[in-house]
Symmetry: C2
Subunit: 339 residues, 2 copies
DNA sequence: CTGAAAGCGCTAACAC
DNA sequence: GTGTTAGCGCTTTCAG
């Protein structure tokens, strides 16, 4: 089946390509096209089932109506949730999303950005990986519109959509304290990522403000590449201490998942033997015998705002800095024992 | 920062744009470009940090190196798993994925395909929605390369990557029978989708082959839009019968998730009170007190094959039909009671 | 070995 | 109101 071009329909309607272009792009009024002619053009287009070649349009207008999205790992619940919102919000704004996952690898992160830039995406939504500051600065230097989401670099002035990780962690810790716990462990990834560091800071400060002495041995650091094993051994460690922990604050849902699964395995009961708080939720909590107390992020709003913020930058070409921070919500389950 | 064009680097290297194009596209040998000139060109390109405009390339070559992927719903584990594999396999083959989710809506499914076609994707990988046959036939008529994955239409001859749903369901049912069950319920979506119908057929035939009388009341149909409630009430129903069921075969992981959660709520013990088999797995099973016996699909291979098959069609332009069917694997947990 | 130039399909300035 | 035409940035034929 032969591809129908603009000039085919111009011919069919007996007019020039300019008129066809005007009419099909909704400029009929503005360009004062004769109503009868316009109708004829629209009819021809429909009849011939015309499909504009968006590649040609993009080349001409230097606008692709495409957003590049790079997530850290599509396996994370956060990525899935955010991707889904971003895609639908983008569609509403007449943008298409092209998509890639860095899998926490800096090289792959850079590759994806390059690919997207070569494809002349109009802008990028990024969940950056650790140590990608250089790449982010490069984007700024090249005037490529982008917005960071979830993970941010406080030392770089960028547009971002973030969570107040400090506050969420502070509140989580304080909640455990209010449940009567003093020996609270925190299980976090070993990472320089600001959002994870902030969770540590929230924990530390909540203890301090409640006059509980910080015990560094209660702060466990997990290697991403070996998370399950390290979570398990960490739990063993904090339970075997002279003053064993009676509560654990997991700073991500994945860590909580590993942890709860291991507690199951060891036959420890939540919350009677040990209290648990999870930063972020997991679908898996649904099958745990006890509702897990956890914080939730406003995925929907974050994703929506990311798109709107980016589209704003793209379409205004203004270089306003939009830095939006959301608060987490706490969902009270039954996994924190009232002493 | 001014965009560097081909002619900028031609100028910088003191040659024509043709030579630059040859060299940067790896045709230096073939076009017998002087090695010294070639080196000079490469150096200029690097020095000026040249980024080819892929839009212009695509317009000229009518090749976008883009694959459009439409999943049914990114919230399904299947979608996530497959998306991740497809993206990375596509990248290996030098394709980028543009992505959309139909959310089981026919209108949105058609929209996405149109958008992707207008963008001149080289091909499509589709998890089609119910009743999308017309749209699929349209693609064939327009000679647009595509491959269906997961869900197929047996009445349309297309390339596809599928699972032998019949066999997997047959095996699942037979497993429950071998555990000593006779009153086995099947909980499935109410849907005309072939893959789900096949699961029913596998169930029915396994019963028949094992001389167990089919009881239609044991076959529950769930409305997708109200799944949780309907699963709950279905479970109530089959337990309240004169001859209550002692085993349930859930035909998707989501259904199993709802079911297990409700069994928890009711205080029923798996497998002592009731056996459970899940078609497909869920991360959530990790937190259930008892390892859930389930089938798993070879996501990785299916996704990889989908890309390879599609790329094969795109690049050969041959119209070979590749129909690939995989078998599910069964993971033995402890959720099926040996009577 | 190298360069000039004709498009790919569309938009939009400009002329009539 | 409408038509002509010059590009957008690249590939590739053809001539030298």
């Amino acid at each position: 089946m032969k591809k129908i071009l603009l000039k085919d329909i111009a011919q069919h309607a007996g007019v020039s390509t300019a008129l066809v272009s005007y009419v099909l792009n909704g400029l009929a009024e503005e360009k004062q096209v004769n109503k009868v002619t316009a109708a004829r053009i629209r009819k021809s287009a429909k009849q011939l089932n015309y499909r504009p070649n968006q590649i040609a349009q993009s080349l001409k207008t230097s606008k692709t109506n495409t957003i590049g999205l790079v997530v850290a790992d599509i396996k994370y619940r956060y990525s899935t949730a955010i991707t889904s919102v971003i895609e639908s919000e983008a569609k509403k704004n007449n943008y298409t999303v092209i998509y890639g996952s860095s899998n926490e690898d800096l090289g792959k992160f850079e590759d994806l950005i390059n690919i997207f830039v070569n494809r002349r995406v109009d802008g990028l939504i990024l969940i950056p990986v650790e140590n990608s500051q250089r790449q982010i600065k490069l984007l700024q230097k090249n005037d490529i519109p982008f917005v960071l989401i979830d993970r941010i670099f406080p030392e770089i002035a960028t547009n971002f959509i973030a969570l107040d990780n400090y506050k969420a962690a502070y509140d989580a810790t304080e909640h455990l304290i209010q449940c009567g716990h003093q020996r609270i462990a925190i299980v976090n990834y070993r990472s320089s990522l600001y959002n994870l560091q902030e969770r540590n800071r929230g924990y530390v400060n909540a203890l301090r403000d409640n006059r509980i002495k910080l015990n560094r041995a209660y702060m466990l650091e997990i290697d991403r590449l070996n998370a399950m094993e390290e979570v398990n051994s960490s739990i063993d460690k904090i339970l075997a201490m002279a003053e064993p922990c009676d509560a654990i604050f997991f700073t991500t849902a994945t860590l909580a998942l590993h942890g709860l699964s291991y507690l199951n395995e060891k036959g420890l009961k939540v919350p009677d033997d040990i209290s648990v708080f999870s930063f972020d939720e997991s679908e898996a909590f649904k099958l745990f015998y006890c509702p897990v107390t956890h914080s939730v992020q406003p995925y929907g709003e974050m994703g929506t705002m990311a798109v709107q913020s980016l589209v704003g930058v793209i379409e205004s070409q203004k270089n306003v800095k939009q830095q939006i921070t959301f608060d987490a919500r706490m969902i009270n389950g039954k996994s924190c024992h009232e002493k």
